[in-house]
Symmetry: C2
Subunit: 220 residues, 2 copies
Amino acid sequence: MSDFVRHDRNRVRRGHKRATYDRDTVYAILDSHFLCHVGFEMDGQPHIIPTSHWREGNRLYWHGSSASRMIRHLAAGNPACVTVTQLDGLVLARSAFSTSVNYRSAVCYGTPGLVEDDAEFDRQMKLFFDRLAPGRWEQLRPMTDQERKATSMLVMEIDDAAAKVRATGPGDGEEADWPVWAGHVPLHTVQSVPVPAPEGARAPLDHPLMPAYGWRAETA
Amino acid sequence: MSDFVRHDRNRVRRGHKRATYDRDTVYAILDSHFLCHVGFEMDGQPHIIPTSHWREGNRLYWHGSSASRMIRHLAAGNPACVTVTQLDGLVLARSAFSTSVNYRSAVCYGTPGLVEDDAEFDRQMKLFFDRLAPGRWEQLRPMTDQERKATSMLVMEIDDAAAKVRATGPGDGEEADWPVWAGHVPLHTVQSVPVPAPEGARAPLDHPLMPAYGWRAETA
């Protein structure tokens, strides 16, 4: 696949050695989490709202209340920035200047639109649930017309994107004589033991939970 | 302390039962992580950059390269939105509509400015390091004039803010007869065993790492 083209809005200025425009890298970061941050601007004021996303091909999807300010504003044809960040660790160098973090981030630009077709809406919801808990979509109580009306789904073709990745120890090995510990502290996400609803569940947990994100599972 | 005042930009429209304008709640979320997302707008295009932040009183701080597009744009007097999000779990209800996530998020609005005083710059860097690794700032190789020149620190008085918190199981107990497992899957951050730099460290690790964030430590 070809790289994303470097335009003014997605060209990485600082730390460009950590930057990549490779589509597979951008897509892998987008797929590594279901938490993204959506940026938009209203009346000169920037806003950032965290929400859940998923991806199919070169398109990002997210959904929310049809009455949401973010959804309504973006459905009206305004540009968005969607960022997914994985913080992988703290890098402790011998100087403040070389202290850093290990991370993977993808920043995507585009102009979202509404998914208005019901069959496509359902197909996308199933894709999202298949990442969260494969097989669960078919087990859920189906959506009602009222719920569908209350939910809006946005799709954004990724017009421009860039990723940045840092994944090593401190970069100041030439100062290794300075008498302080140096290295890095990895951080990762752990998925704990599922907690059943207090009112009880009428069926056992027979689908895997969040296998797509590569998180470690904490066993009971 | 008084709540943040509800203005147009920070008033939560959707899920307002999960919203709070309580300063202690906003501050606790800001202090729960060192990863934030900074939003700004240039030429009609929203941008979101992940970076590290810290807080003192009603002010948020972050720093970066003096040549950073984000830093230069915000230092010029443009408004910002800074969001900190903790994803605490996936909430699996009996319907797609009630499926949700547990999270804590704080959205802050203000207009940043540069920290131009060297003594204040150093005092703030020490505050930041005291959260990352208490006692480490004093052990580091001191900043050089060149490094100081290459680093810009921003301070943002939090003019408006709002927090949203969801921290329970599925909200559709009235549908408990539907035959699918229901409950939630907690997610948390784990701090792994520190990895020494390959070139070796001239001193043992004698300061605690990231005690401020309440993350579980993974032991060797």
